[in-house]
Amino acid sequence: MEFHKLSALEIAEGVKNGKWKASEVLSAHLERIRKYDGRINSVVTLSEESARKEAEAVDRAVAEGRDPGRFAGVPFLAKDNFCTEGIRTTCCSKMLEDWIPDYDATAIKRMKEAGAVLMGKTNMDEFAMGSTTESSIFGPTLNPRDFGRVPGGSSGGSAAAVAAGFAPLALGSDTGGSVRQPSAFCGVQGMKPSYGQISRYGIVAYASSLDQVGPITRNMKDMAAAMDVLAGADPNDTTCDAYERPSFSDAVLSGIKGKKVAVLTGFDSESMDRPLVEAIDRAAEYCRAAGAEIVKAKLPITMKHAVACYYMVALGDASSKLACYDGMRYGHHADGRNLMEMYKRSRNEGFGKEVRKRILIGTCILTRGYYDNYYVPATKVRQMIADEYAELFRNVDALICPISPALPYRKGLVEEDPVRIYLGDAFSSAANLAGLPSISLNVGFTEDGLPTNVQLMGPRFGDAGLLALAQAIENEAGSPAVADIEKKGGCEE
């Protein structure tokens, strides 16, 4: 049985009806990770012992006729910025190298309650600051579709692991595209739900008003099921909305007949990689085939200002949320002759170069003068961006646009052309600014085997409708297969 090719729901189905055992499924996945992760470095911590116990508990539940849960025996991985009880949570930083939380993030808790089995933690850019998964203290993750390329980031480990068949489902966090862009690069499906859809409790923060938990899967039905499991109010996070969620799994099947879908225009498609421009057209065609009306839309304010606005908000907040790492209660500690020296040394040694620089930029933005002239305008522009989308979604049901202007970067581009990588956030970060649901959907591969993809966006809390759209396109485009990493993998030149 090739367990690694099954979807999450197929695994759960088989576990529930006794076709196979959760422990069996787990062993197969663990073995695959052990055998092949050396090639891509997507998993930073395996928690075999606790995973075995969880899987056995599921098998026991099945044997005793109890409901083992929606995700019975589904092995999953979580980005290393999700707090996991008893399992180290490092954010791939020296700062938290030895830190073992004594609580589970709400998202982890909900997954476990649904019968899913946590196998371990995945690689990421240090403190989620990056889009290539190259700045981890555990070394870079490689793209399982092409070892010469990066998996994207910052949830690169999670996306790569799902693509490599290490797990049918992994959790990431998305602050400006950190779930969707690596999903696009690795050829899997990634979703950033509406802000306030899933609790942020237990996610080591990057930026409070942008961060959102996002599932990564290989098909949309698994995605919808994950949303059913993950979304919901949480007494530990008051920014998580308390409204009654619809069944996302029902919604995903509802089709898009008669829906109006806008295709974004008015951006520089010339500088984009050609296959990605074609992907947009293809996706629009699939929508039309599924009965939707296609229109064009422009977002002038968003296209012009989203990246700048995103950097203001994200870095400003990061400088604040990362101030708690002072080396005195937890985390990396360095001695100092006095308090300030201890702080400075601990932070300097604990944080990597990129993190330190982003903290500095963020602090600059919030200091007197700059705050009034730059930060405050950014918060107003942010509202204008949200308004621009709200206006668009008064007239259309969803938007199709690029997620990344480029195919997966070659390794090391961060050093060569950082600006290009900055601008890579142009399409993805707007969804975070406006709090909108957004899906990065695979729509096939290039001749070289590189994934192509589109971004789907919908109105705030219109996650269910967006899943239906993604499903309709996936029906036509097909869901991506597991990367054949065992055959050395991909198309490295």
Binding site: D102, T239, A242, H305, M328, R347, N348, P377, K380, L433
Partner: protein, 109 residues
């Protein structure tokens, strides 16, 4: 109206102290370049902002219930202290804050 501001070395020094981050002097130009590049990206945002535009705020469908004033004890206190870099009995311990002469000591680079 755009008020173009440029971050300079003097302010960067202050920022280094506010954020408790050290930076070798030879890296100042690189960081300043990056800060100013971000600022240049942001210059044009100033123009957009009329006085009637409100700062960003979330739309909410249903606010979560407020927390009731009921104490809940936490059992992790000892684990927390044990894992602290410097535990001193029931306390966290930190090095000297202010020297004898009353000055807040500065670290040496």
């Amino acid at each position: 109206m755009i008020k173009k501001m440029v971050m300079d070395e003097e302010r960067l020094r202050e920022v280094l102290s506010f954020s408790c981050i050290g930076l070798p002097e030879e890296e100042y130009p690189e960081v300043l370049d990056r800060v100013n590049a971000v600022l240049r990206m942001c210059d044009e945002m100033q123009e957009l902002v009329g006085s009637d535009v409100r700062p960003f705020e979330w739309d909410v469908i249903k606010s979560p219930a407020r927390r009731k004033d009921i104490p809940v004890a936490w059992d992790g206190r000892d684990r927390m202290l044990d894992r602290a870099p410097v535990r001193d009995g029931d306390f966290f311990r930190v090095p000297r804050i202010i020297a004898k002469d009353g000055t807040e000591e500065e670290e040496e680079e």
